[in-house]
Symmetry: C2
Subunit: 339 residues, 2 copies
């Protein structure tokens, strides 16, 4: 029977997996942002010597995975599973990466929720006794995403103030059944929320209800409050989505604004870098988590984090067919203590 | 530590999940095929009253999930997770379905390997104590796939003899921590194999090396031989891919041809139905498994099956950019006995 369930939707890991290595690779613009000093590798050129943006994205993901494994003092043959996904049609960045890595692979599609989706599944595979070491990874690329989801870059479409800027980068996390932390201790996988937003240039508003739903369910299931966390951070709600979540939670009696940030707000200087509502993309929470958050936890400056990567699960076709944008958010507790 | 691993790549489930309900819904052409009498619902019209093929596909997946849950004598609120994916960009069939179902959801992309990918993950979540009931589901639609991966139907492109016909349908499986079987007892998740095939009209050849790799690894890890199975059945290799797997296995000393079939061969009468090399698509192994195989197991006519859904993890973009087609195959042992 399901002995690890608490409340309606949360899982408590009995043998919390330890994060034993991470890596982040970003493009030039991300490197110039406020978190620049935290990233493992900043590219000079966002094609990284490849013939297409798609191939550049796959190369970033592959190198991030290899670097995370190296940082964990392991080699690829020590890893039991690769769990990865990305934004591109048929997740080609992840699948071509998985071909190069050559180990058993589960492909995911969770849009920008992929980092925490993969951490949820990877943690359960380790805690359940199915794997000792798992790598969770994702990537996105501004230029591959723009031309797939919106317009060719050459078209020069004007961006709305609600628009977000897809992060060029890749992040990878090595989870292990043994290690000295930080540990993954709780998971609250999300269900889809859809308040009827149809504007694909306002992803923050489309994803905010899912983040709200998962965060409040996490609090109800565990009995924790914002005071139990040093940092509560969503994936890529940006300025608009973050404000909606704060409002929705306050209506329910939870005041989290002093603990609550968003990876899409952290990664760019919106004014200087002209990124409008903030960063987005699978890589947004992936590179912020695998650099800034992880490194600040190792230093002991942050000890307990709730990471909630957020995904907008539409496609250009579904938008053209008049559908609204379904949002999802998966929450993961990362703790310097294992219990 | 990972106590459930045997050999290099196989997992032995300690508390094998039971399949307690399935459902299959198919289009008219599939209903006219050799397995017609096994399906739960055959549509008269492959748009099923929807305004687009994509919406019809999502409706099939939603209704298959609901029917599987009903067949398991449960209601949606009893289900802890939905694990689903499909072929469409950003897996919109699954995500719009997940919105309607309203429970925690993990989206996958494994192309036509999705059925066994979802069974692998779902089984581990149950065996690991994270869930009591999980629904695994997938869908595909000939007309949504053709226009996305190949040409608009109106163009009337001629089909090669190596071409396969995407199955219109959806299948869903309810897994439970308790039940009277059939049980999922072993999993051999696959790694990508790519022999350099670039012809998107010859998926069987692209996926066959992955099926071969997973099947032989399963035998090596478990010590089982073809004699230990009543049926070894791949997802959608079709006539050409099946022949390649038989040849590759014979070179390694395994003669499986009398036990070995393929869902893509079973579902259509290739001569009468003009389906060339056979059926394909996520729904191919999903509807064959959730109808014919499941029902024959319940009757006791088949007692032990190795299901290996096979996926081709390319995209139209990767093909245009000169990439070959990576294949993957995940194997699942389904047994009327739990050990």
């Amino acid at each position: 029977m399901a002995t690890k369930r608490i409340g309606i939707q949360t899982l408590r890991l009995e043998n919390p997996p330890s994060i034993i290595g991470t890596a982040s690779i970003v493009g030039p613009k991300e490197g110039e942002g406020p978190l620049g000093s935290y990233f493992d590798l900043i590219l000079d050129d966002d094609t990284w010597g490849q013939k297409s943006f798609e191939k550049a994205e796959a190369r970033m993901q592959e190198e991030a995975i290899k670097l995370a494994i190296t940082n964990a003092k392991l080699s690829i043959k020590d890893i039991h599973f690769l769990i990865a996904g990305d934004l591109l049609n048929q997740i080609i960045s992840s699948s071509y990466t998985a071909r190069q890595i050559g180990i058993p692979y589960f492909g995911l599609y969770g849009a920008c929720s992929t980092m925490s989706e993969s951490l949820c599944l990877g943690s359960m595979l380790i805690d359940g006794g199915f794997a000792d070491k798992v790598v969770c990874a994702t990537s996105s690329h501004f230029s591959s995403a723009e031309r797939q989801f919106r317009f060719p870059l050459e078209y020069g479409a004007q961006r709305k103030y609600t628009s977000q800027w897809t992060v060029t980068g890749a992040g990878a996390t090595v989870l292990s059944s043994t290690g000295n932390g930080p540990y993954i201790t709780y998971l609250t996988p999300g269900k889809i929320q859809d308040y009827g937003i149809k504007d694909a240039n306002n992803m923050g508003a489309a994803m905010a209800p899912a983040a709200f739903d998962t965060i409040i369910q996490h609090f109800k299931d565990t009995g924790y409050t914002p005071d139990d966390y040093d940092l509560i951070i969503t994936g890529d709600l940006g300025l608009i989505g973050r404000r909606i979540v704060v409002d929705l939670l306050e209506k329910e009696g939870y005041s989290i604004s002093d603990k609550f940030s968003d990876c899409g707000i952290k990664i760019f200087d919106g004014v200087q870098q002209d990124t409008h509502a903030g960063g987005s993309g699978c890589a947004c929470s992936a590179v912020v988590f695998n650099s800034y958050i992880y490194k600040e936890m190792i230093k002991g400056n942050i000890n307990r984090v709730l990471l909630i990567s957020t995904g907008a699960l539409h496609s250009p076709i579904s938008t053209l067919q008049g559908e609204s944008i379904p949002g999802i958010a998966h929450a993961v507790t990362i703790d310097n203590l294992s219990s």
